[in-house]
């Protein structure tokens, strides 16, 4: 694969699937600097993954897999960026917040997702984005029954919390 072919595929993937990358970034980060950093990591991993994509799965599944794996590993080194002085290219922000009206319920949902540990966060994102148990098992590398158990617990947890949210009428 030539660099140019890789670049075309990369731009195409980024253009069509940036929404899912943004969701993962929002679920795994707190600050604008972290968002930039994770976005950079995901796009670089996405770029490197292009030659190994064999079309055995959908592009969405592939990108989700790459992005979640990157996010999980990124979390471990997240703290080291807090005290780092910004270099010239870091100061140039990669992502600028959109101007759309913020849905409070969606913000609440992201807050709840933030409270989960790294693994449960991944499963919740996959679940909310409608992936099947089989796809989730393949992305996560665990059995479907294991996925099922985790999903049941997460669903119960989220619906219980949403009831409290309804009750307080926020």
């Amino acid at each position: 694969m030539t660099d140019n072919e890789q670049k075309i595929i990369f731009e195409n993937w980024l253009g069509q699937h940036k929404g899912l990358i943004f969701k993962i970034i929002r679920a795994y980060t707190f600050t604008a600097m972290d968002q930039d950093d994770l976005f950079q990591e995901i796009t670089i991993q996405m770029w490197h993954s292009i030659p190994s994509f064999r079309q055995e799965s959908a592009v969405t599944t592939w990108i989700y897999r790459v992005a979640l794996n990157t996010a999980i590993k990124w979390i471990g080194k997240e703290r080291k960026y807090y005290n780092q002085p910004e270099t010239k290219d870091v100061a140039q922000h990669l992502l600028q917040q959109g101007k759309e009206q913020v849905d409070e319920r969606l913000s609440w949902l992201y807050e709840e997702i933030h409270k989960l540990d790294e693994i449960d966060r991944s499963i919740t994102l996959l679940l909310l984005d409608g992936f099947s148990y089989k796809e989730m098992a393949s992305i996560l590398g665990i059995t479907e029954s294991n996925v099922g158990v985790k999903i049941n617990r997460i669903k119960k947890q989220l619906t219980a919390k949403s009831k409290k949210y309804d009750y307080h009428g926020i």
Partner: protein, 195 residues
């Protein structure tokens, strides 16, 4: 709210653009990242390899050149060449093993854990390697009949290196431990929940 409602709220963002991408900045970052070829493991392997080979050659060269009969020096250079070979073998094994992991989250975590385990093992081996290198260096200085001060300075130097090695080893061990926790969370929860 039922879960289906949560899903609807989640889907509502599909029609929104949360962020705008600064494409030029992204391109600049990818280019700069591509230049950072040397990963921590590669760099430390290369450094240890060079130190052992150059050190071994230097010690052997000067001993032969000066026509000294200093057994400790010969053993020390042989030891350093062996350390470099051991490192090279481990590096080949590490790179080979790196291709065996699948691209799932479990596979990626296992790969990261395998690299971390390698770093822990390497830092431990290199830390304890300071002991024979230090002892042989001091013995060779004694054989040469150098002053006690040189022996004391060497002793302090190797002790400091040993403690610094321990500090480095601790960093890798903590990193490995974090990965083990993640892996346990991913793998073993279903059996915990079933009990």
């Amino acid at each position: 709210m039922e879960f289906e409602e949560l899903q609807q709220i989640w889907d509502s963002q599909n029609n929104q653009s949360l962020y705008a991408i600064n494409e030029q900045a992204l391109y600049n970052r990818i280019l700069s990242k591509k230049k950072q070829v040397n990963h921590i493991t590669n760099t430390s392997e290369l450094l240890i390899f060079i130190v052992n080979i150059v050190g071994g050659c230097f010690i052997l060269g000067t001993t032969i050149y000066n026509q000294k009969v200093n057994i400790s020096m010969y053993i020390l250079s042989a030891w350093m060449f062996s350390s470099a070979s051991y490192l090279l073998l481990n590096r080949v094994r590490r790179i080979k093993e790196g291709h065996q992991f699948e691209r799932s989250m479990l596979g990626e975590l296992k790969h990261a854990l395998s690299t971390a385990t390698y770093q822990v093992r390497l830092s431990q081996a290199m830390r304890w390697n300071i002991v024979p290198v230090g002892l042989l260096s001091i013995l060779s200085v004694i054989e040469d009949g150098k002053s006690t001060w040189i022996i004391i300075i060497l002793l302090i130097f190797f002790m400091l290196a040993f403690f610094a090695g321990g500090w480095e080893h601790g960093i890798y061990r903590n990193k490995k431990h974090e990965l083990e926790i993640l892996l346990t969370k991913l793998q073993h929860e279903s059996s915990d929940d079933n009990h």
